[in-house]
């Protein structure tokens, strides 16, 4: 039985991955009211891009990551143009379905390109043949530490971006009232495209971070993607803090649930929890009440 500290560390880093993916959901939702069920696929793509450059092209990790991020950005732009833009004035249902269709397409595209056998990516850091260091009885896997650090830095940068830059304020304006933003001369379409690009990068980064821990497979993104969506509901859908808190909470819960309750039903906790939340407190931790006005 692993120690509490060990489980907590694993839970927090897993939770960071959910949080990053959930943030992608939330940012797109705030800007466009679209729930992007293909968000998990961005995670898978990020992992595969990194894999291709590190293991295939034998590039240095940093260089590979930068190229992968660039590619994810382009991919996000194409996604916005190909899926969101033609459907932007339609009701939620066709849009949800189109994103699900896109996710089928991406998964199978990955299957065609990278094959069906699981791939493994070498750890980013290995010092003296060990992938981590033991401190106070807890084994700190370097990859977990990297995940936590990257997530922390990203959150700080994003917070600063939204609060202190004009571009960030414009993004917020669009999420509040698109028409008004347009009247004020904010290039709404361009900003939405930018949001898609950023969200794709966030999702992809989550994938790049877990790539050395998980096996790489064409369907590796779908369950984490759905869990991230659950996390954002638990946190309060549409709320940035909610996505982060919900993601971390879910990761920790899953980690402890897996250790103390049942390993095989680990994946069920997230979905049970989200169903309970939706029925009992649909607004989550931070969100506003859901409901239609007559």
């Amino acid at each position: 039985m692993a120690s509490i500290g060990q489980i907590l560390l694993a839970g927090l880093s897993l939770g960071s991955v959910y949080a990053l993916t959930a943030l992608g959901f939330v940012l797109i939702y705030r800007a466009t009211n679209v729930v992007n069920f293909a968000q998990g696929e961005f995670l898978m793509l990020g992992a595969y891009f990194l894999f291709t450059f590190v293991e295939g092209a034998k590039l240095n990790y940093g260089v590979a990551a930068v190229i992968a991020i660039g590619m994810l950005g382009v991919f996000g732009l194409l996604f916005a143009l190909g899926i969101y833009y033609p459907l932007r004035n339609r009701s939620f249902l066709p849009v949800i379905i189109a994103t699900i269709g896109a996710s089928i397409m991406f998964q199978n595209g990955a299957l065609a390109i990278w094959g069906s056998s699981p791939e493994r990516l070498r750890p980013v850091l290995e010092i003296g043949g060990s992938g981590g260091v033991t401190l106070g009885g807890v084994f700190f896997n370097y990859q977990y530490v990297i995940i936590l650090a990257v997530t922390l830095v990203l959150m700080a940068v994003q917070y600063a971006f939204f609060e202190f830059t004009l571009l960030g304020k414009k993004t917020q304006a669009i999420s509040q009232d698109k028409d008004m933003a347009r009247l004020l001369g904010i290039p709404v379409t361009g900003m939405i495209a930018l949001t898609f690009m950023y969200s794709t990068v966030l999702g992809g980064l989550a994938g790049m971070l877990v790539a050395p821990i998980f096996f790489l497979q064409h369907n590796m993104g779908s369950i984490p993607g759905l869990k991230a969506f659950s996390a954002s509901i638990i946190g309060g859908f549409g709320d940035v803090r909610g996505a982060i808190v919900g993601g971390l909470a879910l990761g920790v819960l899953e980690s402890f649930g897996g250790a103390f309750i049942s390993t095989v039903y680990k994946d069920a906790f997230a979905f049970l929890l989200v169903i309970i939340f939706l029925l009992v407190r649909p607004q989550g931790f931070f969100g506003e009440k859901v409901g239609e006005k007559a």
């Binding site: 379905i97 189109a98 269709g101 089928i104 397409m105 979905f271 939706l278 239609e292």
Partner: protein
């Protein structure tokens, strides 16, 4: 001449029977027959989605779990517990109905992507349980040597079983098609188009949604049972989230609102991988792209696209002629209280939208509720009709206390309404809109149709009956709303700003309509801004400002009151100007 009585529906049935008879003969080889079987089983489950998604407009990403419940009922029931096939089949349906009702009940609180998430959760938990609870399910290895159902002839060859499966598919398709234009089917489509309007017209939206989920679950399970005995082997990974997505894709690619669409979609998506097999690895990419392309460019699916092209060719059957005058409720002596409001209040948090209003609407009168913008008139109407629960106060309608009851309940007591911002069932025709309204007063289909026809004739909409509501001009849409409300033969009709946005001549028409309805004894409560209209039509006026009643009485007296002029125009100087 005889052929003239052979309707398109009969042709479709004939075509279906021929297809069922010929397909197993034309598709040969064990492998291909199995694909055909699969298409049949999948089509049955997809038809379940036609009901829940196509008709009722509720998303479900859990259809594969119901398919799995049906398959496991057969597998476990016959192999593990030695039950008769048909008994196991029925048990599977019972379990599925229970699951469907549970999922349907969540729509009480959730819709849209939240509902999607709940159904996904249900689906994933189902797969996990079936994979890991080996004692129950046989675990990831599944169940083998599943028997075929006992039938009049032994179904011991793939071909015979294919006939059986396709015949079942045809039966289900016909039943789902018949559902579409039944009372329940219309109510489902009303819920899809506008839940609030459906509720206000007496459709119990909760019951309708739960029923839709239950039917969908039953069809999912039936498809699963047929699947299990077709392939003689089942394993949990067949019934996972991916399969649910696939069911959804079938319905959307084919066309979600019609039976033909779902069957087409199921057939296409079953056979497509076989046809694309030569593309090897990229076939699934092509498959995904086809789904995306169809959704983006053919919003109503392939079949919707076909009907769109053929719409100009097929002439719809004319609506039945109206027999006799528009039926009216009533039968109470004039002047008797119909609706009594006592000290009614509605607070939204700290906002006192309605704050202690009392008035009485009497039999046979046109009672006008007036007041400046934001004074609380529409809120009062929404509380009376049950869309909002009152914060306090009493509402008595025809002697029954109805405050806080659900809108559909109140509507069924005899109250219907129109809406300030149109709430038509936009994708449905005028005829269908009014039929749904006519369902409120009960009776059989003939009675419903007769009432609807006379309401349509009364509102001079006969020639527009087969137009979709959304394609009509604004003024006409308002007339459709009134026809829809009248077809339910209300005891009290609530009109929420019926003149707003109408042209002068349309307003004159409206005055005549209201006067005619009054002459026939209909009691009406009218919220309106147009003062000349109010003074022409009403017998009694209640004036509201800041959520309180400031004046009440006969029109000429009330409109002359200084407080009323002030409420509207600020002060008397402005009133003079």
């Amino acid at each position: 001449m005889r052929m003239a009585t052979f309707k398109p529906g009969h042709w479709a049935i004939l075509g279906g029977v021929v297809a069922v008879a010929l397909l197993p003969l034309l598709v040969t080889g064990r492998y291909n027959t199995n694909v055909l079987l699969l298409a049949g089983a999948w089509a049955i489950a997809a038809l379940g989605l036609t009901v829940v998604l196509g008709y009722a407009g509720q998303i479900s990403l859990a259809q594969a779990s119901f398919f799995g419940i049906g398959a496991y009922a057969i597998g476990l029931g016959t192999v593990h517990y030695g039950l008769n096939w048909w008994l196991a089949f029925v048990l599977g349906l019972v379990v599925a109905v229970t699951g469907g009702i549970i999922l349907g009940a969540t729509t009480l609180r959730l819709g849209g992507h939240y509902l999607a998430m709940v159904t996904i959760g249900f689906q994933i938990i189902f797969t996990l349980v079936m994979t890991n609870w080996s004692a129950l399910s046989g675990g990831p290895d599944g169940i083998t040597r599943i028997p075929r159902p006992p039938f009049f002839v032994p179904l011991n060859t793939a071909q015979r079983y294919a006939w059986f499966a396709l015949a079942a598919t045809l039966l289900v398709a016909l039943a789902v098609h018949a559902l579409r234009d039944s009372r329940l089917g219309r109510s489902m489509r009303a819920v899809r188009e506008n839940e609030i309007a459906a509720e206000a017209l007496g459709v119990d939206t909760v019951r309708v949604k739960i029923t839709a989920f239950a039917i969908s679950a039953v069809l999912g399970a039936a498809g699963g049972s047929i699947y299990a005995s077709g392939f003689l082997y089942i394993a949990p990974d067949t019934f996972d989230f991916g399969t649910s997505v696939q069911f959804l894709a079938m319905v959307l690619v084919g066309g979600r609102e019609s039976v033909a669409g779902s069957v087409l979609g199921a057939g296409l998506l079953t056979f497509l991988p076989e046809w694309l097999r030569e593309l090897k690895k990229i076939y699934l990419v092509v498959y995904g792209s086809i789904i995306v392309l169809v959704i983006v460019f053919m919003p109503e699916g392939l079949w919707g696209f076909v009907t769109l092209l053929s719409r100009s060719l097929v002439r719809p059957t004319p609506i039945p002629p109206a027999r006799g005058a528009l039926p009216m409720g009533g039968g109470r002596p004039a002047g008797e209280p119909v609706l009594v409001i006592e000290n009614l209040g509605k607070y939204f948090g700290g906002l006192k939208a309605v704050d202690g209003v009392s008035f009485t609407v009497r039999q046979g009168e046109v009672h006008a509720l007036i007041g400046p913008n934001g004074s609380g008139k529409t809120t009062i109407l929404n509380v009376i009709s049950g869309l909002y629960a009152p914060s306090f106060g009493e509402i008595t309608f025809l002697g029954r206390s109805v405050g806080g009851q659900r809108a559909s309940r109140i509507a069924r007591c005899g109250m219907t309404r129109t809406f300030q911002n149109l709430r038509l069932f936009r994708e449905l025709t005028v005829w269908e809109n009014v039929l749904i309204g006519a369902q409120r007063a009960g009776g059989d289909e003939t009675a419903i149709r007769e009432r609807a026809a006379s309401a349509i004739e009364f509102m001079s909409l006969t020639i527009l009956a087969h137009n979709r509501a959304r394609n009509l001009p604004y003024g006409t849409q308002k007339r459709v709303e009134i026809a829809r409300a009248l077809a339910g033969v209300p005891e009290l009709l609530l009109l929420d700003e019926p003149a707003a946005g109408l042209t002068q001549s349309e307003k004159q028409d409206l005055v005549e309509i209201v006067q005619q309805l009054h002459a026939r004894g209909l009691t009406m409560l009218l919220v309106e801004h147009d003062m000349s209209l109010v003074s022409q039509l009403s017998h009694h006026i209640t004036v509201i400002n800041f959520g309180r009643k400031i004046a009440e009485g006969a029109p000429e007296r009330v409109l002359a009151e200084p407080a009323v002029g002030e409420a509207y125009l600020g002060n008397r100087e402005a009133a003079r100007a």
